[in-house]
Structures are given as structure tokens and as C-alpha cells.
């Protein structure tokens, strides 16, 4: 059997075993779940080392439709999917192990690991899919595992709401994606990624643009791009390792991965590319501006994730498939690291997430602090950490392709360094603001710090030698020739850190000093440009009105007036006819007589 199947199905088996058998034995559940993904990681490394002898396994014929259409269930093994396999299983393994420490003592421990394994299965399914229907299937499955994990603490109303919101917003994106798939099917006559590239050429440009835009809707939902980004910050209601795995490193990157997988569809369409690039650019900038006002450490990271995803999408839109995947990879390392670091802090402070209640933590939690700092620097794009290489590839691409987007990218990079610097200074430096929390703070156990160190190492070396781009594009990848521009760009994060240090480093503020300076603008940013309010208004008023309208029509027009009216008329007819049945014998005799007379008259006289 091809090891790819084992990589894919081991986590599903783990989820089933945990749900059905080991639910009561918590540590066993954790072991099963971790073993499944570690096995996947080992096998993925094995596949990676066997470069050149890759073989996609024989696909199953999942659904055979009349007319010769076959929907396959297959597994693609190529450079793109092997890279993703390594990222998902590698980062995933670290997060699974970390979870053992983080979730210790939680009553739903086994359920947590079952959901985590279900997620891993679904995510690997997306990575391996060889056709549009299959990717849509796993697309939905990651959606549901995300729903289950965001709402993991379902007794908290906010968590339950956030899970629902994430699922529904994603569904709206999937609505477009499904239509795109349908349209593509009738135009090209296949779902298969292998067959599509040659058939795409025959599709008229306008239709192809429409298809690409519709498929892109799916990515907008899953990768949380404007205007469907609203679910991701709320998704932070889930346990922090979940935020790290699903809402930072892997699932939200699935949209980017999918676009790269179907690049043959997008690249020929100029309109779609422009749309994609600008959606990405706007998201990157907008999320970064929101991030500077957030006080919850996880929300800062969430907006940062949005912003970085915006970079990747923008890169795809600028035809930079390889830079997008490169940034996806390094981002998975350092963003998972940052979330796990934040989780370590939250764990130590007994679920305190407000950075203004932290402060001075570097003394108490040295490992967490150092690794978090590495993550921060990598995210900001500081040489020689991984983020520097991948982000610069995107920025240099933008410089070449689109000046406006380059400016957007640079401003975003500046803001990134600024808000990450702000978070670091407030949380880890300065004097402890909450004495009580500070005294109870402690370094996390080895089971949590070991994954931090592992991810920190990856965050440092992940970009060296531009290995990832070379791996993806062995036959030539040209980004080095302008490396000096890249080093020039180092000034941007330096400026960001500098400003942050100047504001938050020298003084000992207990409240936000920038708030007054920004005035009204601060409110707009803090309220996330009022997207949630507008959407809520639409849901309440538009959807609510339509729904009530339907219900009222059903109750009054159909049930009361229609059915009730019909019943009333029937009843009335009965009542009227009843008047004839007087029960008076003379009356009956009279009618009888008249009738008889009429008949005799008719028979005789005619």
C-alpha cells in the first residue's frame, strides 16, 4: 500500500478509536492521536527523502455518474503536496504534543484529541486531493472540525457563537466555490486537476475569469480575507493550540494552498488576478491597522495572521505562486510558535489574555520569552530569520509588478514590526502590572517548551538558502539578483520596532498611550472598521425581515386565508345546504310533489 494512504487515514482512525474506545482513558487518547500524526510526519519525511521516485497511488472511483463522469478519491504526490504534508504533519506534531500539557486536566481531553485528529485528517485530505470535488469535501470537513474546536468549550456562550459564526461565514465562501466548480464542470467537463490544465485553454476568457473569481470565494472564506475575515478573530475562543494549528498554521492557509494548486486556472485570467491581488493587499493592510489597537494577546496574533494571509493571497494575485507557498511555510513555523508561546503565557497566568495585565514576564518564563522573541523577529522579517526571506520575495515581486501594492506591503511590514514590538514590550518587559498574576507565573513544563524550541529552530532556519522555493521550482528560481533591495527593506521592521520601543519601552505605561494621539481613528480601528456591526445589522434586519416575511406569509396567507378559507367555504356550504334539511314532513312532501309535477310535465308535454 502506498504510504500516502496511511498518512491520510491514520488520523481518521485515531479519531474513530478515541471516540469509540479510549474516551475514558485520557492519556491513551492523547497517545493515539499523537502517534497518528507522528507516524504521518515520519512517513512524510520518508517520502520527501525519496525525491524523484514519487508515485501517486491508484485513485478510487468514489462516485461514478451517468455520462462517464467519475469523481475520484485520489492522492496527488508532487512537490506542492509533499511540502504541505511536511508542514502540516511537522507543525501539527509539535502542536499535538504541546496540547498534552496545555489541555491537562480538562474534562473534555479525549474529545479534544478526537477533534484534533479529525482536523488533521481533513487537512491532509485537502493537501492530497486530486480533483475539485475531493478538495471541496475536505474543505467542508476542515470547516466542521474547526467548528467543533472553536466551540470546544461549548458552555461558554462566546465560544459557541464563535464556532457557529466561523462555520456560517465559511459556508458563504463555499457557496461561491461550489458554483465555480459547477461552472467549471460544464465548461471543461472534468473535475480532475490532472486533466484540467489542458482543457482550460478552450474556455472563453470572461467565463474563466468568473470561474476563478468564484473559486476564489472559497479561499476568501477559508483564508479569512476581506470581506469574510470576520470569523477568524472570534475563532480565538478555541483553545490556544487549536488557534496555533488551525487558525494560524494550516487550515487558514488552505485557501492559499488551493489557489496554488489550481494556479493553471487563475494565472491566465488577468481580471481574476487583479481581484485576488487587491483583496490580499487590502486584507494585509487593514488587519495590520486593527492589530495595533488590540489588547488581547491572541487577538493581536489573529489579526497578524489575517495580515500575513493577505500577503500570501496578494502574492498569488501577482502570479507569485512560489513566494506564496514559501511564505505559507515560514509563516506556519513562526505563527504556530507565537501562538504556542502566547498559550504558554496564558497557561502560566491562569487564562489571562490581556497584555496590560502582564509585564516583566521574561524573568519568570525564559524559554517562552526567548522563543516568542524569535517568533516576533521572524514575523517582522528580520534577517536572518525565515520571515525575512519569504516576505522579501513577496515585496520584491510587488515592486516589480505593482507599485501600489508594494507600498501597501511595505506599510504593512512596518505596522507588523510595530504591533509585535508593542505586544512584546508590554507583555514581557517593564514592571509587572498585575502583582498577583506575576507571582503565580511559572515556566511551562517540558512537554510544552520542547515544541516551542522545535518550532523556534524551524523559524530561524526555515528560510535559509531559500530552500523551499528551490524545492518547489528546481529548474530556476530567480529572486537573488536583487538581494540588496531586500536588505534595504530591513529598515522597515527596524523602524517599526524602533517606534514601538520608543512608545512602549521607555515609559512604564499602564494604559495605552497612543489612544489619545489617534483620537477618533483609534475607535474605528479598535472596532475593526465596524464590519461586525454592519453584518449583524444585515443579519438582523435583512435576513430577519425576509424570514419573518416568509413565516407571516405562511401563517396568514397560506394557512389562515388559503387553507382556512377553503375550510370555511366548505363549512359554509354545509351550513347552507343544511337549511334545506328542515325536518318538516310537509316541506319534504311539498318539494317531492313539485318535483314529481315537473317530471310529469316534462315527460308528457314535451
Amino acid at each position: 500500500m502506498n504510504p500516502v494512504w496511511l498518512i491520510l487515514f491514520a488520523p481518521l482512525g485515531a479519531a474513530a478509536v478515541i471516540t469509540l474506545v479510549t474516551q475514558r482513558w485520557k492519556m491513551l487518547s492523547a497517545f493515539v492521536s499523537c502517534a497518528a500524526i507522528l507516524l504521518g510526519f515520519v512517513l512524510s519525511v520518508g517520502i520527501f527523502l525519496q525525491q524523484g521516485q514519487w508515485q501517486s497511488p491508484e485513485p478510487l472511483r468514489w462516485l461514478v455518474l451517468e455520462g462517464g463522469w467519475v469523481i475520484e478519491f485520489g492522492a496527488t504526490v508532487d512537490r506542492l503536496s509533499v511540502l504541505m504534508l511536511l508542514v502540516v504533519t511537522g507543525v501539527g506534531s509539535a502542536i499535538h504534543i504541546y496540547s498534552i500539557g496545555y489541555m491537562r486536566g480538562d474534562p473534555g481531553f479525549s474529545r479534544y484529541f478526537a477533534c484534533l485528529s479529525l482536523f488533521t485528517f481533513s487537512m491532509l485530505g485537502i493537501v492530497l486531493s486530486n480533483n475539485f470535488i475531493q478538495i471541496f469535501i475536505f474543505w467542508e470537513l476542515v470547516g466542521v472540525s474547526s467548528y467543533l474546536l472553536i466551540g470546544y468549550w461549548f458552555e461558554r456562550p462566546s465560544a459557541a457563537e464563535a464556532g457557529k459564526k466561523a462555520f456560517l461565514v465559511n459556508r458563504i465562501g463555499d457557496f461561491g466555490m461550489m458554483l465555480g466548480i459547477l461552472l467549471l464542470w460544464t465548461e471543461a467537463g472534468t473535475f480532475s486537476f490532472a486533466e484540467l490544465p489542458e482543457r482550460v485553454a478552450a474556455i472563453p476568457a470572461g467565463t474563466l475569469g468568473l470561474i476563478s473569481a468564484l473559486i476564489f470565494c472559497g479561499a476568501v472564506g477559508k483564508s479569512a480575507q476581506v470581506p469574510l475575515h470576520v470569523w477568524l478573530p472570534d475563532a480565538m475562543e478555541g483553545p490556544t493550540p487549536v488557534s496555533a494549528l488551525i487558525h494560524a498554521a494550516t487550515m487558514v492557509a488552505a485557501g492559499v494552498y488551493m489557489l496554488c494548486r489550481v494556479a493553471f486556472l487563475i494565472l491566465p485570467s488577468e481580471t481574476a488576478l487583479t481581484l485576488i491581488a487587491w483583496v490580499g493587499g487590502v486584507t494585509a493592510l487593514m488587519a495590520a491597522t486593527i492589530a495595533i489597537t488590540q489588547n488581547d494577546i491572541k487577538r493581536i496574533l489573529a489579526y497578524s495572521t489575517l495580515s500575513q494571509l493577505g500577503y500570501m493571497i496578494m502574492s498569488v494575485g501577482l502570479t507569485g505562486i512560489t513566494p506564496a507557498m514559501f511564505h505559507l511555510t515560514t509563516h506556519a513555523f513562526f505563527k504556530a510558535l507565537l501562538f504556542l508561546g502566547a498559550g504558554s503565557v496564558i497557561h502560566a497566568l491562569h487564562h489571562e489574555q490581556d497584555i496590560w495585565k502582564m509585564g516583566g514576564l521574561w524573568r519568570k518564563m525564559p524559554v517562552t520569552f526567548v522563543t516568542f522573541l524569535i517568533g516576533t523577529l521572524a514575523l517582522a522579517g528580520v534577517w536572518p530569520l525565515s520571515g525575512f526571506y519569504s516576505k522579501d520575495e513577496i515585496l520584491l515581486l510587488a515592486l516589480k509588478e505593482n507599485m501600489a501594492l508594494f507600498v501597501v506591503g511595505v506599510v504593512t511590514a512596518f505596522l507588523t514590526a510595530y504591533y509585535m514590538g508593542r505586544g512584546c514590550f508590554v507583555a514581557f518587559f517593564g514592571r509587572p502590572r498585575d502583582r498577583h498574576a506575576y507571582e503565580h507565573a511559572h515556566e511551562s513544563p517540558l512537554v510544552m517548551t520542547a515544541p516551542l524550541v522545535f518550532l523556534a529552530i524551524l523559524s530561524v532556519i526555515g528560510g535559509w538558502g531559500s530552500y523551499v522555493p528551490h524545492f518547489l521550482q528546481p529548474e530556476g528560481h530567480g529572486a537573488h539578483h536583487e538581494a540588496w533591495k531586500g536588505f534595504l527593506l530591513l529598515l522597515v521592521p527596524a523602524a517599526g520596532f524602533g517606534v514601538a520601543a520608543w512608545i512602549y519601552g521607555r515609559a512604564e505605561p499602564s494604559d495605552e498611550p497612543v489612544k489619545a494621539a489617534l483620537g477618533r481613528l483609534w475607535n474605528v480601528l479598535e472596532n475593526k472598521y465596524y464590519f461586525d456591526e454592519v453584518y449583524l445589522w444585515i443579519v438582523r434586519n435583512v435576513q430577519g425581515a425576509v424570514a419573518s416575511g416568509c413565516e407571516l406569509f405562511d401563517r396568514w396567507a397560506l394557512q389562515r386565508l388559503g387553507v382556512g378559507g377553503l375550510a370555511g367555504v366548505t363549512g359554509l356550504a354545509g351550513k347552507t345546504l343544511r337549511l334545506l334539511q328542515t325536518g318538516n314532513v310537509q316541506a319534504y312532501a311539498f318539494v317531492f310533489g313539485v318535483g314529481l309535477t315537473v317530471i310529469i310535465f316534462y315527460v308528457v308535454v314535451r
Partner: protein, 506 residues
């Protein structure tokens, strides 16, 4: 094998007659009898399914017992891919329905007798090859349903302002009215087809002019449309389910409702293809109303059973849309969805029964945080909600996908619009289901519900597990059913010419 089919269909009715002999003071005997009858019936159906020749498009296991030769009447059973699928559905749902009926404590003897008669009524309708018995079995199903709701049902007061008696009366009148309308069409077919009730002979003999096809088809479409809760003839449905006892809701939403769609597929489409073409655009438009209108109406309900009731109206829209496509993928998708939705609706209603039986309320807002108190039921409910909103892995996804593909493939503007609306419909479905689940199961547990208990006994869990397993098996490997449905739809329903000879032989 032929006899096996006969037994599988008639066994519940036989058990109902035996039930008359069971003393009323021994309800547990009656329950055991019902369990045995539906259980054996399910086992036999599985054997039949196993033995079913998957290469064959026509009827199999044909059982023929001449009844009234003068009228050309015979009790004739046979299953093809469509009937087999639906017989499987009836057997599964009725077995689970009996299992779930442990909550019935009054007049158990009569309850099970009626339930068993209902079961044979429905499976008989799906398996008979004779027009007369088609009608006969249908009526055999409607009357017990009337009594089951009227005697054992309950309807909490709400803004509908109706009583249980009103609900059951309305439901029965609708089902009968639809049947009468269909009967007009069926009788026309009987005379036009050379005075035969035999469906296979009808297929071969019937020649109707286009004009007559037009109105006879309309009779069948709207007559059966009543049963399938086609907009605007759907208002009996949510109210009726809300008033019905759990097992009756399961049988009705799960299976009885599918009879309408089955009638259209089995009789109207193959016998009057030109008539079908004339009406399909209108049907597609009505389906949009079914899907979206009922979905939105579900959003405003407070009673769980009304939510699911409107939801089932909405889902029947997908079934009817699949039928309207008149292509193999779409119609097969409709059949598969009848199966998937039947199992899913049975699952949902049985879950509602579990907490309603204890809490005596089904109010979405009053119930809060039940998942803490009943994790098993909560998990099943989340799965049911996901299945209902078309999550891959459950049978519903594969079937809805086929409906979408079929409708899109149909290609006309009306159908393109209908497909877009239908795809949006799954967003609406997810909205009201997740909202209801969130409201009743998540959040902090309300003090009042601290005393509720979860399903712990294996016997209590069995029906839920069984239904979920069925959904998952078909969802993971839809070809278990699509491979037998598609040839039948292609050759016997849409009657693509190559296979005519094959159909005639049987």
C-alpha cells in the same frame, strides 16, 4: 428470493394481525412482537440487498399473486434499484421507530398494531408493481398515521393556535386530497393503457397524446406534490410532525413523505415524458420556494419540531428539483436524497423525542446547554445537523451534490437560477440548524434541566447509532446505492431507448 421479498413487505402487517391476539395487559409482548417483525423484515431486506443484481436495471425478485383476474388485478411485488433503496429506508426507519417507542406507555397494543400496519403500507407502496395495490397500500399507510397522531400525539400551544386534533385532521385531509387528485390521473392511465393495473404492461402499452399527457401529468404531479409537501401545498407538514408522537414523525418525515416523490418518479415520469417536459420549469420554480422559503420560515420557529418540519419541506425541494432535471444524475440524486433525508429526518425526530419526553418542552430558547447534561444526544444532534446541512461524509452530501450537478447540467436559465438558489439553500440550512443547536445544546446549562438524563443503555443508543452509521456508510461510499439507482433511473424511468427491450422482458 421472491418469497423473501413478499415476507419482508408483509411481515409487519402479519404481525399486526397476530397482535390482536396479544392481551392488552402484556404490552411488553406486543413490543417484542413489533421488534421481531421489523427486525426480521430489516434482516430480510439486507439479504435482498446483498443478493440484488447490480448490473440489472429492471425489476428483480418479482412475486406475482393473481387477485381479481377479471379486472387484471394481481398482488405483484418486485424491486428495482429505486424500490430497493427505498425498501431499505423503510426497514431501517421502522425498526428504529419501534426501538424508540419505549417512551410510549398508553395503549401500547393498539399503538404497535397501527405502527406495523403503517410499515407494511409504506413498504408495500414502494415495492408493488400494480397500480391498484399502489393506491391500496398508500391508504393503508395514511389511516394508521391519522390515528397515531390523533391518539398518541401532543402539540404544545404556540402561535399556530391549533390543537392536535386539528393537526392530524389537516394532515389526513391533505394526504387524501392529494391521493384523490392522483387517483384521477391513475384511472386515466388505467383506461388509456388497455385496462391494466400492471405497471410494466402500462409502460409498454400506454400511448397518450401530448395534450392528455399534459393534464394527466399535472394531476399526478400536484396530487403527489401534496404528499411531498410541494410549495404551496406544504402547510400540513410542519404542523403534522409537531403533533405526532416521535416514531410517527420519524416514519412520516422519513418515509411517508417520500411516497409523493416516488409516485412522480415511478409513474409520472416514465409514462408521460412529454407531459413532464412541459411542467418541469414550473416545478423548478416551485422548488426554489420550497428550498429558500421554507428554510427562512424555519429560522423563525421556536418549536424544535417546527424547525425540523420546515427543514424537511425545504429538503423536499432538493428532491423535487432533482426530479425536475429529467436527467439521470439529477433524478438519481433525488432518489439518493430521499434515502439520505429519510434517515436523517428520522434521526433528528428521534433525538427531539429523547429530550422532549423528559423536559416536556421543545422550545429552542427554553432548552439551554443540554450538551453538558446529555453529551451522547448532543453529539448525535450535532451530527444530524451537519448531515442535514450537507456535510461531506454523510449521505446527504453525495445526494445533494448529484442534484446540483444534475440541475446545472440541465442548463436552461431557470435551472441555473434554481441551482444557485439551491446551493444558497445549504447556507440557510446550516444557519437555522446551527442556531437551534447552539441555542438548545450549547451555552451554560439551565438549572431546570439538571435532572435530565442522557441515553446510556445500549438499547436506547442503538437506534441513533444505527441511523448515523447508515448515513456514514452511504456518505463514505455512495456507490453502495448510486450504482443500483442510476441504471434503473436511466432505463426504467427516463427510458433511454437502448434498454427498452430489457424493461419489456420483465
Amino acid at each position: 428470493m421472491e418469497t423473501l421479498l413478499f415476507i419482508a413487505v408483509m411481515l409487519p402487517l402479519g404481525a399486526a394481525f397476530v397482535g390482536f391476539l396479544v392481551p392488552a395487559s402484556r404490552p411488553q409482548w406486543m413490543r417484542a412482537l413489533a421488534l421481531a417483525a421489523t427486525g426480521v423484515s430489516l434482516a430480510l431486506t439486507l439479504v435482498l440487498f446483498w443478493q440484488f443484481d447490480r448490473q440489472e436495471a429492471g425489476y428483480q425478485f418479482v412475486f406475482d399473486l393473481p387477485w381479481v383476474p377479471a379486472l387484471n388485478l394481481s398482488l405483484k411485488f418486485g424491486v428495482d434499484g429505486i424500490s430497493m433503496t427505498l425498501l431499505l429506508l423503510v426497514s431501517i426507519v421502522s425498526f428504529c421507530g419501534v426501538l424508540i417507542s419505549h417512551e410510549i406507555h398508553e395503549r401500547q397494543k393498539e399503538y404497535y398494531i397501527l405502527f406495523l400496519a403503517l410499515t407494511t403500507g409504506i413498504s408495500g407502496t414502494f415495492c408493488t408493481m400494480d397500480l391498484f395495490f399502489f393506491y391500496f397500500f398508500y391508504e393503508l399507510a395514511v389511516i394508521p398515521m391519522y390515528l397515531l397522531i390523533g391518539v398518541w400525539g401532543s402539540l404544545p400551544p404556540g402561535r399556530h393556535g391549533r390543537t392536535r386534533e386539528y393537526a392530524t385532521m389537516k394532515l389526513t385531509l391533505y394526504l387524501t386530497a392529494g391521493a384523490v387528485l392522483a387517483l384521477v390521473g391513475l384511472l386515466t392511465l388505467y383506461y388509456a393503457g388497455g385496462r391494466t393495473f400492471d405497471m410494466v404492461e402500462l409502460m409498454a402499452n400506454l400511448r397518450l397524446s401530448e395534450d392528455r399527457q399534459w393534464w394527466v401529468f399535472a394531476c399526478l404531479l400536484f396530487g403527489f406534490g401534496f404528499l411531498a409537501s410541494l410549495f404551496p401545498f406544504h402547510t400540513w407538514s410542519p404542523l403534522g410532525y409537531a403533533a405526532a408522537p416521535t416514531a410517527a414523525s420519524m416514519m412520516h418525515a422519513g418515509v411517508l413523505k417520500k411516497l409523493g416523490a416516488y409516485g412522480i418518479i415511478r409513474l409520472a415520469l416514465p409514462l408521460m415524458p412529454e407531459g413532464a417536459r412541459a411542467w418541469m420549469d414550473l416545478l423548478a420554480v416551485l422548488c426554489i420556494f420550497n428550498i429558500l422559503y421554507a428554510g427562512w420560515a424555519a429560522l423563525t420557529q421556536r418549536d424544535w419540531k417546527f424547525v425540523i418540519g420546515y427543514s424537511s419541506v425545504s429538503h423536499m425541494g432538493y428532491v423535487l428539483l432533482g426530479i425536475a432535471t429529467l436527467n439521470v444524475i439529477g433524478v438519481s440524486g433525488a432518489v439518493l436524497l430521499m434515502f439520505a433525508h429519510g434517515v436523517m429526518a428520522a434521526l433528528t425526530f428521534s433525538l427531539i423525542g429523547w429530550f422532549y419526553h423528559q423536559a416536556h418542552t421543545r422550545d429552542v430558547f427554553e432548552l439551554r446547554g443540554l450538551a453538558r447534561q446529555m453529551p451522547f444526544i448532543g453529539t448525535c444532534m450535532v451530527m444530524a445537523a451537519m448531515a442535514s446541512s450537507g456535510l461531506p461524509g454523510f449521505a446527504n452530501f453525495a445526494s445533494e451534490l448529484m442534484v446540483f450537478l444534475g440541475a446545472w447540467q440541465q442548463g436552461s436559465t431557470v435551472f441555473r437560477i434554481a441551482t444557485v438558489c439551491a446551493v444558497w439553500g445549504i447556507v440557510v440550512t446550516a444557519t437555522y440548524l446551527l442556531w437551534a443547536v447552539r441555542s438548545s445544546f450549547f451555552g451554560p446549562l439551565d438549572e431546570r434541566w439538571k435532572a435530565l438524563s442522557d441515553a446510556r443503555l445500549a438499547g436506547h443508543r442503538l437506534p441513533y447509532v444505527l441511523l448515523i452509521v447508515v448515513l456514514l456508510v452511504v456518505g463514505f461510499w455512495p456507490r453502495t446505492l448510486t450504482d443500483i439507482i442510476q441504471p434503473t433511473v436511466k432505463h426504467a424511468i427516463l427510458r433511454e431507448p437502448v434498454a427498452m427491450a430489457q424493461v419489456d422482458q420483465r
